[in-house]
């Protein structure tokens, strides 16, 4: 067997019970060209340091648990291959723009509130009545929103968004893209309700179209595009309500 190649992971450590400042800890891990960064972190957890704390589950890029900063870029660590960094060291940090719970684990509280705020569900009166069979939806109607329904809530986009880093009122890329996804769904009747939320304060207007959310999205959702489209819809609605203050609730289709 050939001498085992290794590489170095520099991992962000922070423990809320004992630390006031974060630090970096270097670990030497075996190098395997099939390994992803997550495999290396799991190897450390299993064999070297059981105190290292991170989230993961599906390791196939769809559960959205294992987003971290890898050499400064927000990445799903299950899709970041060691071979793309070897032999240089890899620096792993928790996603920026989120409070850190411990080590590589960040708090989702703010994100979950924003997700809930955009009412990401079908709103219509007969939504629980299945007697008439499925609502018809043509493939073209499906295509109008499908891309925006692919979000896995991995929150890489929030880590890439400088506005999300300092503007709490801003709902952020993933939540807005999901709101837009339901607004574009031919089965939905809730656009006016959602626009009430999106029009408020910096909720949507905080976006300055930096575009990095789209650049880092592992599922090609294009939240930046969704937000610009949603802004156009919101602007039309704003002026419509301005022009017709009464009875302007229905935003139409």
């Amino acid at each position: 067997m050939p001498a085992e190649q290794t590489m170095t992971l520099e991992i962000f450590r922070y423990h809320p019970e004992t630390d006031s400042e974060p630090r970096f800890q270097a670990y030497e891990v075996p190098y395997d060209e099939d390994w992803v960064v997550l495999d290396a972190i799991n190897w450390i957890k299993d064999h070297v340091d059981g105190t290292l704390t991170h989230r993961w589950s599906c390791r196939m890029g769809v559960c959205g648990s294992c987003g971290m900063m890898v050499n400064g870029d927000p990445k799903l660590t299950c899709a970041a291959f060691l071979k793309d960094y070897y032999p240089r060291p890899v620096k792993v940090e928790p996603l920026v723009n989120f409070p850190v719970e411990r080590d590589l684990v960040v708090s989702l509280d703010g994100f979950m509130e924003k997700l809930e705020a955009v009412k990401p569900y079908i709103i219509r009166d007969d939504v629980n009545d299945t007697s008439g069979g499925e609502y018809l939806q043509s493939p073209a109607e499906l295509a109008r929103y499908k891309q925006y329904s692919m979000c896995i809530n991995c929150m890489l986009c929030y880590a890439a968004c400088p506005v999300a880093g300092h503007e709490d009122e801003f709902l952020g890329p993933a939540a807005l893209a999901l709101g837009h996804r339901y607004n574009r769904d031919s089965r939905d009747r809730g656009r006016a309700e959602r626009l009430d939320v999106m029009l408020a304060g910096e909720a949507i207007w905080g976006c300055t179209f930096v575009g990095e959310c789209t650049a880092v999205c592992p599922k090609h959702v294009d939240p930046a595009g969704a937000i610009q489209q949603a802004k156009a819809v919101a602007a039309q609605e704003y002026f419509r309500r301005f022009a017709m203050p009464r009875g302007a609730k229905d935003a139409g289709a």
Binding site: Y14, P16, E17, T18, D19, S20, P22, G72, V96, N97, P99, V100, E101, S107, P139, A140, L142, A143, R144, A160, P162, G165, H166, T208, F209, V210, G211, E212, T214, A215, D222, A224, G225, Q228, Q229, A232
Partner: protein, 128 residues
């Protein structure tokens, strides 16, 4: 127990990713577009001020300093326009059935195409 760690954003956040720098560059080119508009407004003002005033202004504008400034403003405006046209397919997608018009084509249809057309008309109008 120190609890959750909050890491405030650095004031120089725009240095952290190339994408942020490009964003800042795009926003800053806006000043050049605005500056060029001011020059245009002044030019119109001088035109209203009489033939002599206008001739003097044209004289001023033909100095090397102004030529350089114009060149810079032109480059900045072109770059600003290019970033806009790049954004158009994202912000105003054209859907044809189940497919979306590919981004480069959409940029041509909604950005470069109309731009070239209008420019051609103006150039034709001026050179006629």
């Amino acid at each position: 127990m120190s609890g959750r760690l909050h890491r405030p954003q650095r004031w120089a956040w725009f240095l952290e990713r190339p994408g942020y720098l490009l964003f800042m560059a795009r926003e800053l080119t806006g000043f050049f577009v605005a500056g060029y508009l001011v020059v245009l407004l002044v030019t119109l003002g001088r035109l209203g001020g009489g033939e002599t005033a206008f001739a003097e202004w044209l004289q001023t504008l033909s100095t090397p300093g102004w030529t350089v400034a114009h060149a810079v403003a032109l480059a900045a405006s072109v770059w600003h326009s290019v970033t806009w046209f790049a954004a158009v397919p994202q912000a105003m997608p054209i859907q044809l059935g189940e497919k979306r018009l590919p981004a480069p084509l959409a940029a041509v249809v909604m950005g470069y195409g109309p731009w070239l057309t209008v420019t051609t008309i103006i150039v034709w109008g001026v050179l006629r």
